[in-house]
Symmetry: C3
Subunit: 503 residues, 3 copies
Amino acid sequence: MDKMTFKTPLAIAIAAASLGVSGAAMADTTMEERLAELEARIIAAEQRADAAEQRAAEAEQQRAATADIESDAEIEERLARVERYADGEEGFSFNVYARSGLLIGEDGKSAEGGPYVTPAGPEGGAVGRLGNEPDTYAEAILNYRMRFDNGAKALYRTMIADGTTSSNDWTGGESDINVRQVYAEFSDLPSFTGAFENASIWAGKRFDRDNFDIHWLDSDVVFLAGTGGGIYDMQLADNWKSNLSIYGRSFADFDVVSSEDPGLEGNTDNLILTSNNYFGNWQWMVNGMSAADNDTRDIGAGQEAAENGFHTMVAYHGDSFFGMGEGSYKAAVLHGQGLGAETKNIGANGDLTDDASSTRLALYGTTYLAPKWRIAPSVLAETSEDRFAEGDSYDWATLNVRLANELTENFEMQYEASYQMIDIDPQGYSSRNEVDGDYTKFTVAPTFKPEVGGFWQRPEIRLFATWSDWDDELNDYSATDSFGSDEFTGSQWTFGIQSEVWF
Amino acid sequence: MDKMTFKTPLAIAIAAASLGVSGAAMADTTMEERLAELEARIIAAEQRADAAEQRAAEAEQQRAATADIESDAEIEERLARVERYADGEEGFSFNVYARSGLLIGEDGKSAEGGPYVTPAGPEGGAVGRLGNEPDTYAEAILNYRMRFDNGAKALYRTMIADGTTSSNDWTGGESDINVRQVYAEFSDLPSFTGAFENASIWAGKRFDRDNFDIHWLDSDVVFLAGTGGGIYDMQLADNWKSNLSIYGRSFADFDVVSSEDPGLEGNTDNLILTSNNYFGNWQWMVNGMSAADNDTRDIGAGQEAAENGFHTMVAYHGDSFFGMGEGSYKAAVLHGQGLGAETKNIGANGDLTDDASSTRLALYGTTYLAPKWRIAPSVLAETSEDRFAEGDSYDWATLNVRLANELTENFEMQYEASYQMIDIDPQGYSSRNEVDGDYTKFTVAPTFKPEVGGFWQRPEIRLFATWSDWDDELNDYSATDSFGSDEFTGSQWTFGIQSEVWF
Amino acid sequence: MDKMTFKTPLAIAIAAASLGVSGAAMADTTMEERLAELEARIIAAEQRADAAEQRAAEAEQQRAATADIESDAEIEERLARVERYADGEEGFSFNVYARSGLLIGEDGKSAEGGPYVTPAGPEGGAVGRLGNEPDTYAEAILNYRMRFDNGAKALYRTMIADGTTSSNDWTGGESDINVRQVYAEFSDLPSFTGAFENASIWAGKRFDRDNFDIHWLDSDVVFLAGTGGGIYDMQLADNWKSNLSIYGRSFADFDVVSSEDPGLEGNTDNLILTSNNYFGNWQWMVNGMSAADNDTRDIGAGQEAAENGFHTMVAYHGDSFFGMGEGSYKAAVLHGQGLGAETKNIGANGDLTDDASSTRLALYGTTYLAPKWRIAPSVLAETSEDRFAEGDSYDWATLNVRLANELTENFEMQYEASYQMIDIDPQGYSSRNEVDGDYTKFTVAPTFKPEVGGFWQRPEIRLFATWSDWDDELNDYSATDSFGSDEFTGSQWTFGIQSEVWF
């Protein structure tokens, strides 16, 4: 028996059960002796069993006390809840888009720049953004998600945003900080059934959920934002999901055509009814808009601003690189008339004429050319007529290629080439001159990342050198734009460092 | 024995203990045989017990290893701490009040509106807010709570707020975003004992903790805010809790009466000593205030602005619907003189004369009329004399009823009727004209909620249609207010969509 | 047997094992009886064992089910992750510096004040801040930390800040709210090895990581901030850590010297190359800077603004109170020339001449004089020549002592004495007059804290009374500064309440 060690109540019970006698010792004993030994052993076992029972009872009490604190299942449930909070599925969460850095010219001073730097820029003609951004722009998105006992969910979102070209830390007094989004969205509503079962509804000020962009041009394909309300994800048929919303936008403090009161200012609203429809990979968007009294706006002698507009987009969201390999692509054709002729910032331009007409093409794809080489070509082009004056025309087309060579876990070389054709005949609108010319930009950007691996991985820290050039004629377009300003007339080198973050 | 399966050490121990023989097999065996069988079975049991002991020891080792990682009690403690963080009891938390939506008139343009739209509005004469709000207004409240080893707690709170009537997303340059609160509050201080045992102290810029409102009128009953410090919840007697604080408010850049320097601007501070006292359901508030040199302010020929003020309020916070059923009600009478004659925004109006005198009544209640029908009637009324000019009088009274019919888990119909009597004789102050007339508003608002069930449940998304009308005479009150402005002269229909959120 | 209670499968097993017979009962039974009894007991035990086995199996199934939910080790891992989120090591976190309160003069109106209130203030000559701050200033720092699979870490930080002397809650329209920091920083990059193994890189707009201050003067020793990028913590030798960064700052909208175009405004950038080097407790900082075309700036007839600058600092970070006891101290000597002659706000002043030269001394320490008495003396002094005009001189020196007497767990008396010598000969720059005089300030501040115990413990709520005085001559320095303004000419009493918070 001394070979046994009684570590726990369980082991004691086991030992007690064994009533152990070795087979060898049993040979020559009488039956009486054998029985007496068995009985003695049973007595000993009984005593040990008493002790074991007591220790077992104590263990059970401890176990019960622990169970009082929390069962494993309860712990798991409580942990799952705090995980939802940590992960932003419930309660507060924080999202960001931000960029900040220096863009310095050969003269050691801040350089003009930005994807909208060319004469086509004001009409949406973006060029490549890499090594071409002069500003600090930051969005702080504060979300709060709620879950209700009946299964319903609600999201509140607000966005505080600021943009500045000042490199100083303190920009009080000149700051543009403002609140770009304030809205609530409900989903999983138990009383929504049938086609509305998976629908969500929203109201407030927001960026439309279904906006999408060509990242490398810093250009949305469509950017619809304003104040209103709507419904997402109505299932109108097996393969047809539909959204319907109304957005208002303010046309504020514009000059009114008035012989009696030359300083009169007008204010009106552009009300936009919008519907997005998804059929598999296809998206069809339709927008109608109306801005009462916008025809009183002074956009120049003999011209009349539109009161209404129409806009439509057909887009394809591809799961491959144009069917040629792994990756993704998006292609969209947009057309708008009247107030709808601003094809990207839907309903945001009140200077458009009633005859204004625009057609835009947007296209991009991403893929790996080789294991460490990524490529992302894109095209954005528009033709527009009778935009701000009878007989005017605004034609431009941008070709852009971003290339990245992943060299280590934390470093890649990025390259961007951008080319834009510009042919604008503004018919004297806003003292602009007719121009026809090209813009070219090349950028090389050694880039650091916490983990390389794809065009959508952020944050990034980049160094860059950019060479850009354009036809002299483009310097004469407008006295108020960048081209043609002091020391910015073409053949420019710029250098800089920048971080870009989103999550 | 073969019917037994040895799943675990415990089961093995049990099996070993049983030394099992079936009763039937025992009948005709000799005693020797029986004893030998017993002994043999004990040997077998012993072997099994050895194996069981080994397996039990292994189980114990595993159990010990798990215990090394973390005992259940420790896990529970750590989990409780992160739960406090998730729930905002410790660390960062986020609170919000926000509304955003469209208010569109029959002409398809943004309409004038707001609970303070009538001539009584500037003096606090609010009307019903449902279907009557033209703005996006959002408060982002960032809290941080600390717990100290000695049991003390501290709260830091800051509030960033913005309001705009623009429907556009980007309002940089015209934004009103500002910081409305920045304060620290300490509680559970171990060296605070006796009457101070449950007291908390604070300093900074804040909304007073004990402000309360009539939600449906967007009007606080008292709204005290500014920069200062104080102490809450002194227990002066068994049934008497008392607060004492000092608040400063800035009277900035006002015109000074001066024959020598006509463009001179003055700045002064209104220092408000305030005490709230609670006796059961009763609240008695007393405020005294002083603004040195405010008598130099130019408020019109022959008038003199007050340098001092007094304000008091008696309020009852009811636990039922006016004693008639389940629900709640609040009733308050307020009176102020001099700078205290602004009865709601305590100490915020420096144009009041030394003789100014105001008395206000505030009243509201909520209850269920029937299982799915909620009602909330309210009254706000004030009479005021010698307010901004000798002999002037500002009398107004608002009656408002909000009604809600809960139709599904996520949908209710809301109705609001609002009526205001206005009788103002401004004695020429600020080019205002004497008016006497009524204002009426009816609103119907189909409302979506994640979970219906009470007047305080938010978020909400509402559609609404509102009809409002007023006596023509009210259009002549002031050239700078809404009534009488272009296309806003009475009998107005407005429509819209809006979200309202708080948490 | 009836004395046994079978609480659990384990107890049953034990009971079954005991086969209990009391010794007394065994005396006179025959062997046959004894054997029969043993056998009967074995049968009974077998039945109990069957039951026990079944219950044990059930317990095992339950145990297995729990294990399916989550093993303890998995729970621990998940808990550790949410703890990182709660503690801000991963995901969102919130940091703050804030102060808010009232500073009221004997006349009951807001008083002038602030550590930079004297004629030396604009050049960085701070005096003691206790009981001397008239503003609400708040920084809200929003951080987001990411961990990547490869071990790399990234930090995104943005800071929203606002400062105002208004006591009102709503300051929309006059608010200075702005975004002071927007940057990303990467560390633990696996492809960084050797001297770069522990290095981190950053880009964006930020306060430099290695800025440090004399808290009681509200003065950084160096404050470098702007937009750029760099690398921290290169290990250049065993005892040499080095940082290298470039910062840009904007010199905006300054008047340009131009006979042709008298209203011309200039904009340029000050590019600052900065390196900090640490050798044990020693820090050596070197800064070179260049602002192209800053020499076109109009700083007064016959003067020319610098285009370049140089700045250096040697500092010692002491682990004791000047070697005399427990505590800490810091000592720094700074020297700058040209644009580097602004010794604290590096590169932030574009009005400095090419000949400008400044040398500054900064010194402070903290220790306990006795168990409940803390002391913190500090010195800040500068001599500067040819600063903004040929032959000018700006000499000033501040001595400050903060003393605290910890009286309870939550209360201490704080005292501050501050003395400044000022000797400025501005040579007519900016219509300033030559002055030579002294400033003195005494403050007593009863202070509440959640937990006393050191100079760096916050939050605090303070009441205070301050007496300050200065030579009359100092009132004549400038028509636009505080000294000499209405009712602020010396021998001033000010009173107030304030909270200060950081975490």
